[in-house]
Amino acid sequence: MTLQLNEEQMMLKEAANGWLQDHAGVPMFRKMRKSGSVFSDEIWRDMAGMGWCGLLVEEKFGGSDFGFVGAGIVAEEMGKSLTISPFISTAVIGATAIGRWGSESMRVEWLPKIVEGSVKLALATDEAVKHNPLSISCAAERDGSHFVLNGSKTFVADGQFADQFIVSVRTSGNETDAQGVTLFLVDAKAGGLSRRPMRTLDARDTAHVKFENVRVSSGTIIGKLDMGAPILEALLSLGRAVLAAEMVGAATQSFDLSVEYLKVREQFGRIIGTFQALQHRAAQMYVDLTMASSIAYRALLDLDINSESAGNTSSIAKAKCGEVALSIANESIQLHGGVGMTDEYDVGLYFKRIRVAQEQYGDYDFLTDMIASSGGY
């Protein structure tokens, strides 16, 4: 048990669960992986049709303003069914970036498109192999009413098919200064922007993105010039909390598969689930999973009530859920034995997804270092 969902939230959860299993579950993942293209525009538009892309968009732009708990519910179900979609990049981070910090003309232009699923956004922050969002060498020089961007980003989730990038750029100061960071909304078709596929272990369309003298107008700035760092932090917090929920979903499914396996696999003339050594490991996983789910929804609730500690709670949630999910993914393979190593069984797919998600928006080491520092030690 974790957060007790209200009626509306429960309906969302059931609808998401049913639809994803039927239309975007593991069989679909396997089929698409084989065909080489894992993202389906059609599925994305169907999701938009169910209102998922507008969960964090105001009603006047066509959204439902349902809140972060709602987004977490959908993400958790996506985690269970291993659904590939730019939900977090677009409907969570993108929608909030523009909805909260975008100019009025940006909101009018983009929010309805986000809601209807006709635009996909991606957040481009990482520059090195480890997440370190405030260390930015990607730079923009002013040129009249425009800026010229140079630099490159890596590990950009959904970057292969995004239509617009939210890019963190240094507009003044030194590489690690908190001041002088600006967020730009950059069209993927802009001259000088190029991307290379970075197909990750979980078969997702991640990308390296390069900016060579990319000209953007000052009207594409999200927030204010040089004042982008706190916005970037806030956006990453949302991503962390919702991704934590997705990891809870993936770990839950991996765990359920393992418990089922313990009930059918026989060795030494016995169902292996009768062995106490295995029962206790399964029970410990259950405890950890319950805890992970609790902290994930605590973070989502904190975001919904705009609590001052929401950022910190989101970091804690991502760290804890990443730790628990990865450990459950490891254990799931071990409990399956040899077949757990085969591509035929699903636990390996969850293992790979969880490992990639654990790295996204900061891994355990990054987040715990940040949590300790913000705690004054």
Partner: protein, 393 residues
């Protein structure tokens, strides 16, 4: 404003008006609580006053029916009172095993007369109860208990020994599990009896632990006669003869729920750590290994708090959650004391050095958290059987 919000405001005002300032310090430690009972000595007049105020209003046990000493409130209202007392840092007016464990059991299994006899005295703090469950040879395997209960006409004759009975030397009454029938499987043939601790033939003896003095006692029963009836329709036995196990396990659910909440009040671990190890130019503790340990512990605490919060907000409980919380919470407390001992260094190891001596005792005692109330291993057994439905042999 909803009815419940109105109630919240009234509850808050009432607590502010009636709870003495000295008891508004957020203390939840064992020593700070009023445990009640005939032998209780109030630690201050404020403690007495606060108990009297709450007793008057039925707020020592707000959700119990009025005729049994409660205020007859809904569980939602009871939760509001709990939340408001906690947010106002008010100490609980009364806490003991009668309130947490026996009360819920009697409300479910007791006759009206049993409830009338026992519940109001629990609610008012007049009677303090203790729990006679474990025996030297019945720990984790509690159902193998062997204290004998013979039928001698209008009374039961009890012989045997109980152990790990908290505060048997301070309590007025004891609820005890005894074996009435040896010829049936072990989970059958157990009776659940209520009796005064000062019965002839009962001898409690305190147990000394690795941490020194403890609340635990052994209790010896030598030809103890317990009347079958304390009055009309008011038997000394709860539930039917031979059905004591069902009553016992129902009660354990509340015990586990209660244990998980026993925490020390906020200790400034960060402040201590900064003093002990120092901070480098980037604001990090100079000992990175300890820093990792500390942050991990704090992440786990935040996680546990989140889960506790949701648990308090839950409507029902299937018992599984109390096993989850007991398993996780007990280890969390142990980690915390290990970290405090680490920070204390050699000073924490010195015998009888005042402040730190107290810490080492708590640390030593913390090993008990994963043992009492059902060991960690038993909690895992419960979860694998009842929740995960993993097969038995």
């Amino acid at each position: 404003m909803s009815e419940l919000e109105k109630f919240r405001r009234e509850a808050r005002d009432w607590i502010i008006e009636n709870c003495p300032a000295t008891l508004r310090d957020g203390e939840t430690g064992i020593e700070s609580i009023c445990w009640g009972g005939d032998k209780w000595v109030f630690t201050s007049s404020a403690q007495k006053h606060w108990l009297e105020c709450c007793r008057e209003k039925g707020w020592t046990v707000p959700t119990w029916p009025k005729e049994y000493g409660g205020a007859g409130l809904s569980s939602a209202e009871g939760k509001v009172i709990e939340e408001e007392m906690s947010s106002l840092d008010a100490r609980l007016p009364l806490y003991n095993m009668g309130i947490v464990m026996l009360g819920p059991v009697l409300l479910k299994y007791g006759t009206h007369e049993q409830k009338l006899m026992h519940l109001p005295e629990i609610a008012s703090g007049k009677v303090r109860w203790c729990q006679g469950y474990s025996e030297p040879n019945a720990g984790s395997d509690l159902a193998s208990l062997n204290a004998k209960c013979e039928d001698i006409g209008d009374a039961w004759l009890i012989n045997g020994q109980k152990t790990w009975t908290s505060s048997a030397d301070k309590a007025d009454w004891i609820f005890v599990l005894v074996r009435g029938d040896n010829s049936v499987p072990k989970h059958q043939g157990i009776n659940f009896l209520l009796l005064p601790v000062d019965c002839v033939g009962i001898t409690p003896r305190p147990i000394e632990l690795i941490s020194g003095k403890s609340p635990f006692c052994e209790v010896f029963f030598e030809d103890v006669k317990v009347p079958k009836e304390y009055g009309e329709n008011c038997p000394s036995m709860v539930g039917d003869e031979g059905r004591g196990w069902e009553v016992a396990t129902y009660l354990l659910k509340f015990e586990r729920g209660g244990l998980a909440g026993l925490r020390d009040k906020d200790v400034d671990l960060v402040g201590q750590a900064v003093q002990v190890y120092g901070i480098d130019n980037n604001g990090r503790l100079k000992n990175g290994v300890f820093r990792s340990k500390l942050v991990k512990s704090r992440i786990n605490e935040a996680t546990f708090e989140a889960a506790s919060g949701f648990l308090r907000g839950a409507k029902g409980d299937d018992g599984a959650m109390s096993s989850v919380m007991k398993y996780y919470g007990s280890q969390l407390i142990q980690r915390e004391f290990e970290i405090r001992m680490d920070l204390g260094g050699s000073s924490a190891l010195e015998l009888q050095s005042d402040a730190e001596g107290e810490l080492s005792q708590k640390w030593l005692y913390s090993r008990a958290y994963t043992i009492f109330g059902g060991t960690s291993e038993i909690q895992l057994n419960i979860l694998s059987k009842r929740v995960l439905k993993l097969p038995g042999k």
